[in-house]
Every structure is written in C-alpha cells, then in structure tokens.
C-alpha cells in the first residue's frame, strides 16, 4: 500500500510513495560486455517479416531522424511526424559545440572507460552505469557513420579529423563542425531520412502534431495527430510507437529552445501511464544573451568556449550605472576568479550560472533590469590581438552584435544564464522502452544517460546513439517477442482518444476570454524560473505549487483563442501546448520539492557545503525518481542506482 507523505508542519500531501522499480532489461556481470550480451539475447525479426510491421516515430531531430532512417533501412514501415514544415528544422540543428567520442585520436589517454567515467561523474552520480557505458562504447561508431554520410567535420591539414576539448574535461574528444555541429549532424540524419521517404519506406507527415497516445490492451498502439494546415484530427495505428520529441525547457517560457519545442507528446504519454523521471534536473547555461525587454520571445545561447578567454566581472558597488569603461579596475569584482581560483572563469556550467545569479540578486547585475554580468575580452585582445580574437570567436561576436547592437570588441559582452537542456524525461529501461510496453523514448525526451547534469557535447552523442544504434535492435526484440493482435480504427480506445482530443480543442476555442495564450505561458515561466530555476527552496517551491493550480484554473477560464480548429491556427497550437505545460510545471516542482538534496542541475539552497557547492545526499537520494500519473497527487517510484565501477564522490572545483 502506498504511504502518504506529508512535508513538515502544515504541509499538504503533494505526492504518495509507491513500490520501488528496477531496470530489468539491463544484463548484469562485466560492464564491458553488457551491451553485446543484451543484443545477443534480443530476439530478431526476419528481414522478410519486417515489412509486415509498422512503427510510428514522432519527431525528426537527431534521435528521431536517425531512428526513422535506420528502421526504414531495416525494412520496417515507418510513419513519421514533425510539427515543423520539414524534418530538417528540428531543434537539434541549433547545437553549436560538438559531439564527444572516445576515439582517442589524440593519444591523450582517452578511452571508452574514461568517457564513461567522466559522464557518470559529470552527471553527479544520478545516471545508470549500464546506460552510460553503452553510450561511451557506441560514441566511436557514430563518428564513423556521420563521416560516411558526408558530415563535414573540421579537419587538420593532414586530412584527418580535428578534435578539441570541451566542457571541463582533460582530453580532446570533441568532434566539431565550426560552431554548427548540430546542424551538420542533423542534416546528415535528415538526408538519410529523406532517402527513405523518397523510397516510400517512410511515410512522412510534416506540419502534423501528436496530441495523444493510443494504448490498447496495455500496449502503445498508435497516436492521434492534428494536421496543422487543415486542422484534421487523424488516428494512426502501429505495432510500436517511438517518441523523439525533445525536452521540456520551454516550461520556463524563456529558454534557448526553439519556440515550438513543447512537452505535449511526453506529457500525454505520461497521462496514459508512462512514468516521468527526474523532471527537476534542468540545465541552465551560463553564457546566454540577457533579455532586453518584456517582449522577449526567446533567449540565445553563445558557446561556452567564450569563457576560455573572456573574464567575467560585475561592479563592486551595488546599483553602479556607469558604463563599463568608466569603472576602474579596482572597482570591478572578477568574482569567479576570486571565489574559484583554481578553475576561475572555467568552472562548470551550474556553478557559473548560480554565481551570476547571486551577483545579480545582490544588486550588482548590469544592463536592463540588472540581469546580466560582463564577459570582457579587453585583456584577451591586449594579450593576443584583435585579429586572433576575431579568428577564434568572430562568428559569436557577430551574433552578439546582431542581437544587441553592441560591438563586443569595444564594449564587454553582457551575459546571463538561461535554461538550455532538460536531463529528466520519460522513464525508460535499458532497451529505451517506457513503462508502457511498445512505447519507446529516445534522445532528450527520455531520462536515461545524463543523470542530474549533462556534459557539453554529450547531447548530440546520446541522440544519435539512441536513434542509430540502440533503438533499432531493441525495437526489433519487442516486435519479435510480442504477440500483437490486430487493432482497428473502430476500436473503442481509438474513438475515445479522438473524442478527448477534439473535446479539448473545442473547449480551448469556446472560452473566448480576455488573456492571450502567451500571457499565461509567460506568467508560468516567470514563476517556475523564480522558484524552480537556478536555486530552489522548500518555501519557494511550495509557493509555486500553490500558484500553478490557480493559474491553470484561470487559463481554462480566461484564455482567448481566436479562429477555429479546422484551419491553420497557431494560437490554438500554442494554447494546447501551454495547457500541458501548466500541468507539467506542477510535477516539475513536486519533484524538486521531494528531492531535498542538491545534485547537478538541481540546487536546493538547504543542501550545500560550507563553500556554497551542491551537497548530495547519497544515503537518501541515490535513485531515479519515476512519477506515476494519477490525476491527483502523483505516486513516486524509486529506482535505486548502484555504482559498481565509479565510486561516489563529491564534486570539487575550488
């Protein structure tokens, strides 16, 4: 029987605790051979039989594009969806830095084991060892695959591939294509997918959005989707469903995610029974361009490589409004260099982000609203000359100038942290299967590999590993080992989901209130950013948990959505996604409230070392928190994590 948890005095029950769960798909024994043994034990589908099976893939980013192309090559019928006008637009395209792989081309001591070790430690010991080891193993195959596809990685004059170091690791294992690695990898996957679309192996539905999941006899058997041009609601049936729909960073409204990125597919699957794991693990990137006004629609990231040569500072005096060149050296506080002398401006993302927040909270921030700190290249220009700086960072300086209208060669850049990536996601086992049989989740949409914090250049690696190499054999195993009955479009489960989807859209259009959808999204985002952003406290989270249901109620009473559902209606698309963010935001805060420790991207003010660093509580929280939807208080299922290879240790960067 689940026990009810009350928090402290006067706390209402925000959740209940259910049984522990385990990942039963991962083999035990030596970690080096677990993936080989899992593949060997997996059942195979005869090539001639594959064409009898249909798989739905939702999303066309690195994970979805790679999965759709590969499944189609193997002979499955693939039906694929994206909400953008083309599969080439998915937000993987905006990744700048690079992709990690344990090739050890530099002979600098890298290995699969070291990449595994760095990722487990970087994830602050909240990821599964089995998954991470497999990711490190597959990393080398990804580079081979992408080079063969024609991805133009940076090369040396020898004609061989160049690599650089990235994200606080001591080996040069990051492959890159100038500052556009995500674009080049995504176009590679998109081209492979386009070839299969042209061959008729993938039935591609662009401008079509998944609005719900169809579960029949306990198995995922299809989706209900809306054609965003005609508004037509159509059910699609299949033998399995793959979600590759990205993260939930836009619950904050302002993030570096694309405007369309949303959590509707994963949240709808959660409501149908898929467990949602670790939503409180969100990554906040320190080097983004600050917001310039109330109208701000999104934030833009600049590669953190800027911190290699830029120096971060704020005025020592509170509320100092002098222009930066009027502030003498002695009145500047290079606070990262002061607090973290060993790492200086290169401390990890979460530490740099929090430090900036503290300076601004303390009244020393610069720029509009005092929400920014300086990133100054004056010393770098003096040391290596403007030409050298231009050669290294020219494209980033140009981007900054285009957005802010300021010339960073003359005036220090202003930066502020922004939400960038979400480590949590739908719970999956080692096979990437969610708690609903037949529902697989790949890429950022799942929670699998990054623990509480993702290392730089690891998102691209995970998306492609899942899509090209992990999902296809595991999906085959599911199809080969499951007796799937036939399902028809008249099935009551199908008609009832269509009814729910249509009813919800109808309700949104009928309210005809006095507030725009975006005004609710903005308000939700500001609340979550304030109370569940860089620093979280019990009191703040309780405040958010009291406010979110009110805001949700207000939304369903006051939102105004013009037009109708039988046409291209971008306000309706938005309102429908915001309705889900308004539910998801509550789970995010509940997870953050329940995890009374700090780890990785989750910083609880109550749990820090005397130096102000994140303090984990391994005795009570060395588990993945998988939440079950009930309609009321969610049920927590813990998946205890075991560390047999990398020993638990506190991170230390001072």
């Amino acid at each position: 029987m689940p026990e009810t948890t009350s928090l402290g005095s006067g706390g209402s029950a925000y959740w209940t605790v259910g049984d522990d769960i385990a990942d039963t798909a991962a083999p035990d024994g030596p970690i080096e051979t677990r993936w080989d043994r899992r593949k060997f034990s997996a059942k195979l589908v005869n090539p001639a039989n594959r064409r009898k099976h249909t798989v739905i893939v939702v999303g066309t980013g690195l994970a979805g594009g790679a999965a759709g192309a590969t499944l189609a090559e193997q002979g499955y019928n693939v039906i694929q969806f994206c909400f953008q006008d083309s599969p080439r637009r998915a937000h993987s395209i905006a990744a700048q830095g690079g992709i990690n792989a344990a090739k050890n081309y530099r002979n600098d001591g890298d290995s699969v084991y070291r990449l595994f070790y760095d990722t487990v430690k970087g994830g602050d010991f909240r990821a599964r060892e089995s998954n991470v080891y497999r990711l490190a193993q597959i990393s080398t195959q990804i580079i081979d695959q992408c080079v063969a596809q024609g991805v133009p990685f940076a090369r040396e004059y020898s004609g061989l591939l160049d690599t650089r170091s990235f994200g606080g690791v001591q080996v040069q294992r990051t492959f890159y294509a100038r500052g556009q690695t995500g674009q080049q990898l995504l176009i590679g996957a998109y081209q492979a997918l386009s070839r299969q679309i042209d061959a008729g192996a993938v039935e591609m539905h662009p401008r079509t959005e998944m609005l719900d999941l169809i579960v029949i006899d306990g198995r995922a058997r299809g989706i209900v989707a809306r054609d965003l041009v005609t508004g037509k609601i159509t059910p699609y049936l299949a033998d399995a469903v793959v979600l590759a729909t990205g993260g939930y960073g836009n619950v904050f409204f302002l993030s570096t995610n694309a405007k369309g990125s949303n959590t509707t597919a994963t949240w709808r699957a959660h409501r149908r029974g898929a467990l949602f794991a670790n939503p409180c693990y969100t990554q906040i990137h320190p080097t983004c361009i600050p917001r310039s006004g109330e109208y701000q629609g999104k934030l833009t990231l600049m590669s953190e490589s800027l911190r290699n040569d830029g120096r971060i500072w704020v005025p020592k005096q509170k509320g100092d409004t002098r222009s930066p060149d009027q502030i003498p050296e002695a009145e500047r506080d290079y606070y990262l260099e002061r607090i973290y002398p060993a790492f200086g401006n290169l401390v990890p993302r979460d530490i740099a982000s929090r430090a900036a927040k503290y300076q601004c909270d303390d009244g020393r921030g610069v720029g509009p609203g005092g929400l920014g700190v300086y990133l100054d290249f004056a010393d770098a220009i003096k040391r290596m000359g403007e030409d050298k700086v231009r050669e290294k960072y020219g494209n980033l300086f140009e981007m900054y100038e285009r957005i802010t209208g300021e010339d960073p060669y003359k005036v220090p850049m202003r930066i502020y942290p922004a939400v960038h990536y979400t480590m949590g996601g739908l719970w999956v086992d080692y096979d990437l299967q969610s708690s609903i049989p037949g529902l697989f989740v790949v890429g950022e949409a799942n929670f699998s590999d990054h623990g509480a914090n993702r290392l730089g250049a690891s998102a691209l690696m995970q998306g492609l590993a899942d899509g090209y190499f992990v999902l296809p054999p595991m999906l085959g195993n599911y199809i080969a080992s499951t007796k799937l009955g036939s399902v028809s479009l008249d099935d009551p489960a199908v008609t009832s989901v269509i009814g729910e989807v249509t009813g919800r859209l109808g309700r949104l259009l009928e309210i005809n209130g006095d507030r725009t959808p975006d005004s609710f999204h903005r308000e939700l985002g500001e609340l979550i950013w304030d109370e569940c952003g860089m620093g979280r406290t019990e009191a703040g989270l309780r405040k958010a948990l009291a406010r979110i249901p009110e805001l949700r109620e207000e939304f369903w009473r006051r939102v105004k959505v013009p037009g109708d559902s039988g046409e291209l209606n971008q306000s309706l698309e938005k309102a429908n996604r915001i309705a889900d963010f308004l539910e998801f935001g509550e789970l995010l805060c509940i997870d953050a409230l329940h995890r009374a420790e700090s780890c990785g991207g989750h910083f609880r003010e109550e749990s820090q070392t005397p130096d102000g660093e994140a303090l984990r509580d391994d005795e009570h929280f060395a588990y993945a928190a998988a939440w079950e939807y009930t309609g009321g208080a969610p049920v927590l299922h813990r998946e205890p994590l075991q560390f047999d290879y990398v020993h638990l240790a506190q991170r230390n960067y001072s």
Binding site: A66, I93, Q145, A148, R155, Q191, A192, Y468, E567
Partner: protein, 247 residues
Amino acid sequence: MNLTLRIWRQRGPEDRGAMVTYELADVSPDMSFLEMLDVLNERLILEGEDPVAFDHDCREGICGMCGMVINGQAHGPRDRTTTCQLHMREFADGDVIDVEPWRAAAFPVMRDLVVDRSGFDRIIGSGGYISVVTGSAPEAHSTPVPKPIADAAFDNATCIGCGACVAACPNGSAMLFTSAKVTHLNLLPQGAPERESRVRDMVAQMDEEGFGGCTNTGECTVACPKGIPLTSIGNLNREYLRALTKR
C-alpha cells in the same frame, strides 16, 4: 518607434489575399522583427482578430523556418541575416514596412506569410544524400579529406533551406539551394560513387517542382543568409554537364 506595417493577409491557398495596414506604436529598437510581430499578434488576439500566421522556430538563424519579404528584400535589409535575427534598430521611427510571404510559383502560400516549401525536401530526397546504411560505415580515418576540400564542402553544407534564394530570384529558381547540396556532397570522396546520379536526379526533381531556371542574376546569393556563393551554381552546371557526358 512608431511604425506602419503593411502585411500580406491571405486566409487560405484559394483566398485572393491583400495587404492590410496596421499601426504599431512603442516598438523597441532592441526587438527582433519576429518579436515585433509577436507584439502585434498579442494585440490582434485581444481585439478579436486573427493573428498574422508566420513560420518560425529556433529564432537563432539556423533552423531555416522563418522567412518573409521585408520591403521587397528576402529576410529584410541586413546582409547575411535571417528574419528572426533582424532587429528593429535597422528601421527608423515613422517607417512604413511592407511584409510579404516568399513569392514563387513553387512555394504556394498556405496562409498569410506561411508558404509550402516541401519541394526542397523532395529535391533532397531525389539524391541529396550519401547512401550509407547505418552500421556499415568504415573507420572515420580510413579516408582522409584534404582540409581545403573539407572546408569548401562545409561552406556549402551551411545552407539552412530557408528558400530566400528562390524568393529573391526573378525566375523563382532553386539553383543556389540545389547547387549547395550537390557541391557539398560531390566534393567529398564519400560522395563520389553517386556523383553523377545525384546531380542528374536532383536537377530533374528541381524542374519537376516548378522552380525556374538560372539567368545569372545573382540575387540569390545576395539574399542568402549563409552566404552560399554564386560559384556553387557554376559548379552545379559543371557537375551536370559532366554527368550527362558520362551517361
């Protein structure tokens, strides 16, 4: 700033459409062009009007989804800048700004500023890839690629598929788009086995989609936010001739 916007409004593909004038006050020079339209749309919703439909997603200048003709120029007045990266400081108080969708026979208008660019996807599907089945790739270092070749391939691979080249071309030609992909893949040793079929099939698809021919006007490369050079079209023509003579 106070602006007068004249925006193309068209309810659906069959609708005739018209320019509609909107006055917009208190525009900040720090707004992006799309944020300015967001502000207009918020107002239109509250006034009970349909907001202006436009495509956009990453708003970082890389996804290629946004694009409108601003005062007659694809993506507006600033060089090498997508619409989402264009900021209102490029305009002055009191300006009248015309906003239209991409105009090309092969890009039919779906609603307001939203057009159908799926022809680009079909051009890529006809040959803009290297056929390598997942898992079959040789070791990445087994084929070195000279740096100048790799860099030139990269320059062409930066195309974001936004369609500004087509919108800017008086012939509605997709030659710059197609040439960028042909040049990217045909330069690389990995792309060599399909070199001839790739260019033949992609050019055939381009024609089938209804894109016009190239008359060396060069508007495409001026409008291109990624600076794909006109020489890529020369290269496409060379590759095409080479493929024809090899047949």
